[in-house]
Amino acid sequence: MTSAIHVTGLNKVYDNGFQALDNIDINVEKGEIFALLGPNGAGKTTLISAICGIVTPSAGQVMVFEHDNVKAYRKARSHIGLVPQELTTDAFETVWNTVCFSRGLFGKSPNSKLIESILKSLSLWDKKDAQIRMLSGGMKRRVMIAKALSHEPDILFLDEPTAGVDVELRKSMWEQVHRLRETGVTIILTTHYLEEAEEMADRIGVIDKGKIILVEDKNVLMKKLGKKELVLELYKPLKKLPESLATFKLQLANDGQQIVYTYDSTKEDNGAVTLLDALKQDGIKCKDFNTRQSSLEEIFVGLVGKK
């Protein structure tokens, strides 16, 4: 696997003495979708800005497809498209001009066919001659995505791409991200919608207080840290759980129609079989059951809380 982004020992101390990045090492492979998760102020935007050349790191190195982003900044940067977190757009330019401008900045010759297809895919085609100040916030965000895609980047950074975007549009953006990945684009995104990372990412990096806490394949992470819930549907609702079942720490749900058993899926013996035996002995009959994985959000809160 070639790495798209390879960061080693990256530090950032802002002028006011605040250390926003603390010895970051991270490797993003070509073609993957990598999610950076962390609470407000964790350093996600700073990390992206340092990779893209907007913030000067205090120490460390960033390689973009094996090009040093300082020494070979032209080569490194021409691979990257960035959609920043803040909605920063020109006010008076038209959508069409501003997207063409971005393409030019990256040294690409004009290509109206391509710009047209990008605008169409983002449902911006009918707004192409509108001044940006006349667009809604969600539309502006899409203009910024169009700008980033205009120069055909191999790596796309999306810093909280769906902040302020309605549910429907969010879903369509997820689809777009997957389509982009299919064309070979590497995608790095940050998000507060943890559901989003779960939905989209192949790997997840958790960052807090300027440190990478862990980087893990999403599925492995879910398995590793995931608690599972076994939900049993009862024939007859129970008013109270029998004393004999106390060791299982069960919960009654849905007016006594369900028993919920939480267990650690990483343990060799998860106790589910013993529970079923115990229920049989007490004459409690089940008509159905299912298991549920705890969401990334729960995992994440657990992780950050621990530190």
Partner: protein, 253 residues
């Protein structure tokens, strides 16, 4: 060299110019007309010729310089300050552009606009006094080099400024006195000797003197000295910009 990148910045800035060209032109043209009414006609008729040139004609080069200096500085300053202010500078910083290319784009556009406005002021002056330009090519050279040099200065101010206040005050505070005391409206040989010496510290003196020579073949300082001084000033601005880019001063965190 990222030529498409330079062209993109230049085009973007020129689009901005065309959107606001009405305002940009109106004010210098009106100012020029006022100067001609007051100094050219009303007072000028009482003032004797200077170096064999009528007073109305004498002030034309100075008036053009006055306009062009102010325009160059404010165009370039606003051009780079605005993206810093709105945050759209992120795109310039993350693009595969060298800082020299960025400067060429912004300074080139600002200078172009000033040259256009300078030419319009010149044409306006033509309505009031007969224009007789002895060395048109040299005149164009002075116009262009002045616009470029002061756009460089404006670019520096636009990067240094951290508020609109500074952005507007500095040109007023610096440029107006320098041009007024730079011999726009008089020949510095008319000053007492001490003030003549002090005047020679003012870079604008050399600009106006050289520019005026291209019109009337009369000047306060020799042509060679004028041209040398302009290039020194230009080199100075470039050195400062080079330093800004090297350190990322006020551009990057």
């Amino acid at each position: 060299m990222n030529l498409h990148g330079i062209a993109a910045i230049y085009k973007f800035e020129m689009n901005r110019t065309w959107r606001t060209i009405g305002q940009s032109i109106a004010s210098p043209v009106i100012t020029t007309i006022l100067y001609f009414i007051v100094f050219g006609s009303a007072m000028g008729s009482r003032i004797t010729d200077i170096d064999g040139v009528s007073y109305g004609a004498f002030i034309v080069p100075g008036l053009i310089m006055l306009t062009v200096l102010g325009q160059s500085i404010s165009n370039a300053a606003v051009g780079i300050y605005f993206p810093r202010f709105t945050g759209t500078i992120y795109e310039i910083l993350s693009a595969p552009l060298s800082f020299v290319e960025v400067a060429i784009g912004y300074v080139g556009a600002a200078a172009s606009k000033s040259i256009i406005i300078g030419s319009i002021v010149l044409a306006t002056a033509g309505f009031f006094v007969p224009l007789d330009i002895q060395h048109p090519i040299l005149m164009a050279f002075f116009l262009v080099i002045t616009c470029v040099t002061f756009s460089l200065l404006g670019f520096i101010i636009g990067i240094w400024a951290d508020g609109f206040e500074k952005l507007q005050r500095i040109p007023q505070l610096v440029v107006t006195p320098l041009t007024f005391l730079g011999g726009s409206f008089y020949s510095i040989t008319m000053l007492p000797e001490l003030w003549q010496k002090i005047s020679l510290l003012n870079p604008v003196v050399y600009l106006i003197s050289g520019f005026r020579w291209s019109f009337y073949e009369s000047s306060d300082v020799s042509l060679g000295v004028s041209i040398t001084m302009i290039f020194i000033f230009m080199a100075l601005c470039m050195a400062v910009i080079g330093w800004i880019f090297k350190t990322g001063y006020r551009l990057k965190n």
